[in-house]
Amino acid sequence: MKPAPFDYVRPRDLGEAVAALSEFEWGARVLAGGQSLVPMLNLRLSPVLRLVDISGLEELRGVEEDPEGVTFGACVRHGEFEDGQVPDPARGMMHHVAGRIAYRAVRNRGTIGGSLSLADPSADWITVVMALGASFVIRGAAGERRVAGSDMFLGPYSTALGEHDILAAIRVPKLGRSARWGYYKIIRKAGEYPMTTASVVLDPDRGRSSVVLGTVNRGPLEMARMAAGMQGAGTWSAQLEGNLREAIRLDLETAGRDQDSCEMKLCETTLLRAAQSALVQ
């Protein structure tokens, strides 16, 4: 037995879950799949006074599809995306990414909502949902509110979720028929947390292109110049690669990121490979 003692509550619905969180000024945490939180408890990394277990709430396990997009309950597990048990509004991107998160034993329990709420900067889903233009349904003491992807992630382990809020659902718009995507991560050992991740989504039907970079020590970064440089790109070429390298340099410079470090090289390589895989699909 490794964690310090804590109180455990299994609410019957989302309202009860929010109420159970709100009874503590701080220190109450939401337990979804527990694949990051329980290791943190075992390592006693953060003090937790109460766990509110939402993993059994049916209202968080639902998936609703309409012509414009899909709304995923926060407790849909990575393995359900991997196995095609839920629709993929991103033309295979979510399926591809989910099947490469950690290990199968973790994917069977870990949830998309849990991963996004924790906002580990090197976890897989953040850059993907941002590049897809997702929005988030958050339930708090004052009711329900929606937050856009770009306003959700404030930095490493920091989100728009308040101390007593619960991420209820993730809304992902459907990509157009001619959309292309790329995802790449640099990882030292299969299944571990990546050092860098990059998601590229090119959706000419919706007039939208997006590139998002993830690193271990900063929040996700939207690469606006690189995304503009990808817009309308047909095939991979040396000229395009040169243009993108310059765009990446400018995007990182604007964001105040170190230009000379090993991290810069990792970022550039990850971004270019994600971009290339989007174009050669």
Binding site: M1, K2, P3, A4, P5, F6, D7, Y8, R10, L31, G34, Q35, V38, P39, L41, N42, L43, L51, D53, S55, G79, A102, Y103, R104, A105, V106, N108, R109, K189, A190, G191
Partner: protein, 162 residues
């Protein structure tokens, strides 16, 4: 303490647990006696504690026992009559798939899932699929050979059946 009930290897179990008790610690306790569960890292990295929860592989060291109330839990002890597990055990024996044996129960449970899900894996895919289980003796060559042998025999029997 909280009272939970689960089905362990086909038998109903009702116990009192502290919320902080991991499923692994509960199952290894004298009352349950499932000592095939080995605790290596205790934070979900090494795979030695891998078991089945509701038929799906999971890490028992990072599953809280209280959160498994009502679940169906299967450990290697419960797979004694399982045909695929028996094949894998034989293949580990023949291919020198274990040295100290500490990782073996988790390896067998993971390998069973990998082979059952897709017996037609390339070696690279197999190594990736098994990468969540660490062998500190570094005996991977024998382990991969064992799992590959069982996968190949199943893949060929699938082909001949179809």
């Amino acid at each position: 303490m909280m009272k939970i009930s689960l089905t362990l290897n086909g038998k109903p179990v009702t116990v009192d647990v502290e919320p902080r008790t991991s499923l692994a610690d509960l199952l290894r306790s004298p009352g349950c006696g499932c000592t095939s569960i080995h605790l290596g890292c205790e934070h979900g990295v090494c795979g030695a504690c891998t078991i089945l929860i509701d038929g799906r592989i999971a890490r028992s060291c990072i599953a809280l026992a209280v959160a498994c109330d009502g679940a169906e839990v299967t450990t290697l002890e419960g797979l004694g009559e399982d045909e695929l597990t028996t094949q894998l055990k034989d293949a580990f024996h023949c291919n020198h798939g274990l040295q100290c044996g500490f990782c073996t129960p988790g390896m067998l449970i993971s390998a069973r899932e990998v082979v059952a899900r897709n017996p037609q894996l390339s070696e690279e895919e197999l190594r990736t699929a098994m990468s969540g289980n660490i062998c500190r003796c570094t005996g991977y060559t024998g382990i991969v050979a064992a799992v590959s042998a069982v996968a190949a025999s199943r893949a060929s029997s699938c082909t001949s059946e179809s």
